[in-house]
Symmetry: D2
Subunit: 276 residues, 4 copies
Amino acid sequence: MCRWLAYSGSPLLLEDLLFKPENSLVVQSKHSRLGVEAINGDGFGVGWYGAQDTPGIYHSIEPAWNDRNLRELSAHAAAGRVFAHIRDTTGSPVQQTNCHPFRHGRWLWMHNGAITDFPTVMRDLTLAVEPALFPGIEGSTDSELFFYLALTIGLEEDPPGAVARAVGLIEEAGQRHGVQHPIQMTVATTDGETTWAFRYSSVGESRSLFHSTNVSTLRAQHPDNPVLHDLSDDTRVVVSEPLGDLVGAWREVPESTCVIIRGGSEELRDFAPRAG
Amino acid sequence: MCRWLAYSGSPLLLEDLLFKPENSLVVQSKHSRLGVEAINGDGFGVGWYGAQDTPGIYHSIEPAWNDRNLRELSAHAAAGRVFAHIRDTTGSPVQQTNCHPFRHGRWLWMHNGAITDFPTVMRDLTLAVEPALFPGIEGSTDSELFFYLALTIGLEEDPPGAVARAVGLIEEAGQRHGVQHPIQMTVATTDGETTWAFRYSSVGESRSLFHSTNVSTLRAQHPDNPVLHDLSDDTRVVVSEPLGDLVGAWREVPESTCVIIRGGSEELRDFAPRAG
Amino acid sequence: MCRWLAYSGSPLLLEDLLFKPENSLVVQSKHSRLGVEAINGDGFGVGWYGAQDTPGIYHSIEPAWNDRNLRELSAHAAAGRVFAHIRDTTGSPVQQTNCHPFRHGRWLWMHNGAITDFPTVMRDLTLAVEPALFPGIEGSTDSELFFYLALTIGLEEDPPGAVARAVGLIEEAGQRHGVQHPIQMTVATTDGETTWAFRYSSVGESRSLFHSTNVSTLRAQHPDNPVLHDLSDDTRVVVSEPLGDLVGAWREVPESTCVIIRGGSEELRDFAPRAG
Amino acid sequence: MCRWLAYSGSPLLLEDLLFKPENSLVVQSKHSRLGVEAINGDGFGVGWYGAQDTPGIYHSIEPAWNDRNLRELSAHAAAGRVFAHIRDTTGSPVQQTNCHPFRHGRWLWMHNGAITDFPTVMRDLTLAVEPALFPGIEGSTDSELFFYLALTIGLEEDPPGAVARAVGLIEEAGQRHGVQHPIQMTVATTDGETTWAFRYSSVGESRSLFHSTNVSTLRAQHPDNPVLHDLSDDTRVVVSEPLGDLVGAWREVPESTCVIIRGGSEELRDFAPRAG
């Protein structure tokens, strides 16, 4: 099990997201409250959109709470769109190329959950990746392969449609090999402008997912954090688990739902896998 | 807070100690039961006496549960005397030179606990180290400095006496600087033949410490572990917390006590700091 | 470009191979004499056959000359068959899963050279791997994929034949995609009893490869190394470049040749790719 | 031997300094032209003054040429004052706390060279550090201790005077212990506004040091690097070895000299150690 966070809004220092909140992602890396496993010590990643066309990525195989470079980077890099992820591996090696978020051009992707019995379906899914995209796969996770399936199917043109068909493809591959519940997922992807987040699982009991409703709620939740008082009204956060305890500040994303964050608006749509 | 284990007895593979027991040290690195902190993910170390005069040491800054090289080494290195330690830092950097056990010639040393307000007393204690020994200090922990104080005072000739005087020196330094309870410790040291373990704290509420009484108890505790059935009767383990749940298998070491393991015998002595 | 060493003979400490010779592999990691590139700082690996059925493996992403754990392991682990490899990547990430030697059951495999334009032919070659073996691929190198192709074709039954057909398959794939000289290689593989080493390249100008002729020559080469005086007469070393300067101590393996080391005998056979 | 670079001037991306020049610091890490040793693979560090009061620091123990996070950071972080350093250790462990530049408040410090026979004089020099500063020492290098000596003596008030007295102190300690030539150094330090660089050695044959004279020269040197065309006229670089080959672009700093870079002006002063 992993934990992740997708931020969009006023530019802020990464440390204001990763270290300062009461239940920040780095705190969650040692003491997750809602996770199946309380510890997420198998790698950390953050992607941020700064001054360049493509986002920057920092991937670390040290536990997030120990990483001195992460602390330095977080104190100096500011961004208006941030993806961050802490990993708890279910088997694939702990190495930088297996850390989320994954990047392709301007796109980022991160995943909490798993493709069930991945060794069983891995080859079929690998063959389904567009040959021209294939050499871009750097690591050995189910999550990165899932990203490349979605890219193959058209993620950059129609994210909800491509994810729906990629999940359909994964479920078909699973069923072909006798896997009972082929996928468990919360996923976030962005092109740097819009964020799409998905909550779904074949078994119908998906990993937790929340979004902040509006920034005034968030401000109320962190009265002692001066940074948040400067946030613009279009600031939104989607997270595996809330960054703090304030009642009413977070809204759970329902099962089988796609959340679309664009500017200050959020749209919730039903999500269902689609046959290839 | 850290966790440690000191083994002496029949030669066995390191993995039989580090990975196979129900509550093995590697399991404790993620889910310590008795520790102040359940996670010990800030470095790992093992020292083992093999075919050479001086023990081998493996120090890692990855969490123990992720370390592929540790798993390989443990599956291939056998030893009749093993010290192993998982670290949860209270401040000093996570780096190999801060991992326990520390080594000096044939001697190993490891420590759970802390010298209170270490930055305050660090300089005084550093000055107390024998100048000829001084350049041997490689890291920045209180624990290694404690080792060098004991070496300065005569650890190699009279371990219980040297540790008592080193603790006395640490308490005097603390009192000089207004530190209330200057030291918290369980410590183990060995020359490869005898193991000395200490449980003490200035406040009188020391970290937990246990020793296995005799090997037949240990065999009963691990009925499914065939390796333990081949252990000689002089096998003994001293640990921060028991490696399993069997009632009666482990005996708690009392407060302010020194345990001496030599062959199959254990001797318990009262331990008290001694003025320098 | 990489450098490697395959040792068989009297059990010795790894350090006698890796650190002590005048031009040892660790020396070569900083100052290779014959390599295209003098530095091989992109990962290190050693595989050794100890007391277990399967060999142990140590993979490191630090430069070999800095690795304290490697030095400790080498001072304490003894083996009668050792594979060691220093890596100079041509592109794939520096991570433990990309370090040689690769292991499958009792077998080890290491490679110096490259599959030319690997991204172009990678997908075709991946599809050629036996589906049941496919999930065993952990890294992203051409060298590991080459190993899995050979395993697919029957490495464990007929090593020279399987390597010949794997090379044939790689050359066919290259030609299909317009790659001019599809492969450059020296390869070593072993089941722990026999070592097979190959020198071949499509262009006909292969990486250097040498074998020691007999142990009395090796003894003469290292008069100051007492360990070598205890070596049995069946001791043999196959290397990318000689471990020392003594004239006559090393014999170059000719182009397009397979060397088979079994006990104290070496057999040289012509090697040519075979169509799939 | 190490290599370093001190940049001040127009804000630019770190990659324009660290990766893009023909003989960039990352190139020098594998192929230094003027160094005693061509390889500097024992750690890398960069300090940069961004939006915060104190500079950011990135320290890595991987060779600079392999570090994916360094490449990402360099592509996204811009600064008008940058210190960068590649390390070739002469003995102290390769760990982040031994990487340059070292930081104290707003100050950075980096050093190429060595305190001769450091283990011999280390204790004396350690005792000379101001007790209140002492706990700030994190690593075990001669270079960081040198920094703390200078801080003790008044680096923040009078940099040339404090460095002169710190060198005096080091030479006295060396002479007391019979060390022939106690120090070899090029050093750079900055408060974020002014850079002071020093070239000195007890033996009178110091490590190389160069400064760029004016930015139009630098522009001429890198005609293909569009970034440099936007540099302001006050841009200056001080380096262990030139970043490129253009005749006339670099001026060697004479022996026993202190260079002061403030805005677009450079001042050269004689430098000599001063007795404590």
